[in-house]
């Protein structure tokens, strides 16, 4: 349990770290609109992940689940759709007004996925080497 909580904390930290690294690389090597895309996309998904974590930690607890049961599924889904609608409006404004480069935005939006993969690789590698020793 402790290890799994650490994994989530590690993913949260690596989200921000990866966002900073990507933004720095983008600002040094690409255009301003690409950099803004990376920054905006990364911020959107990092904040989304943070809110999702808070929703799940507050809603999905054994005492609440046994009390409310299946209505919690709807509760979490409603919050998901609200988050998704807000993200959609932001992304729509960014793309339709040509404020950001679409590929930069896609790169920024991949921050959470990339950090999940990186953390998974780290955990698996650590597990593999621990068993080998």
């Amino acid at each position: 349990m402790q290890d799994l909580t650490k994994v989530v904390d590690l993913i949260t930290k690596s989200n921000w770290l990866l966002l900073v690294v990507l933004a720095m690389v983008a600002v040094m090597t690409t255009s301003m609109s690409f950099y803004l895309g990376v920054l905006a996309g990364g911020l959107i998904v990092a904040v989304n992940f943070h809110l999702l974590k808070r929703t799940i930690k507050n809603s999905i607890r054994p005492e609440v689940v046994s009390e409310k049961g299946r209505s919690l599924v709807g509760h979490v889904m409603v919050k998901y759709y609200i988050r998704f609608a807000v993200s959609s409006i932001l992304i729509f404004l960014l793309i339709s007004n040509h404020i950001v480069h679409p590929l930069g935005l896609l790169a920024g939006l991949s921050v959470v996925v990339a950090s999940v993969f990186i953390v998974t690789l780290l955990v698996v590698t650590r597990l593999y080497f621990k068993e080998a020793v």
Partner: protein, 89 residues
């Protein structure tokens, strides 16, 4: 003109199908998590963490589809070429 109509159709279908699939996937995942926690409340922490990662990945799929559909409508890479071709005719 057909090019633009096709783009809008593709964008609508892309986000519609993606949201439909992601909604079903998230609902199934949550349903399974609820059942698991109800049966074994001690495993709530482990289930929470795995579900969080799964839901984040599913959500990002839907956001990708949204971006692709918005690109198709507002920042299509072949739009200038298509407009030029229309102008030539």
């Amino acid at each position: 003109m057909e090019f633009l109509v096709g783009s809008v159709w593709a964008a609508g279908l892309a986000i519609g199908i993606a949201a439909f699939g992601c909604g079903i996937g998230q609902g199934l995942g949550l349903n399974g998590a609820m059942s698991g926690i109800s049966r074994n409340p001690e495993a709530a922490g482990k289930i929470q963490v795995n579900m969080l990662i799964g839901l984040a990945l599913i959500e990002s799929l839907c956001i990708y589809a949204l971006v692709v559909s918005l690109i198709l409508m507002y920042a299509h890479p072949a739009l200038e070429a298509a407009t030029a071709a229309l102008g030539a005719h």
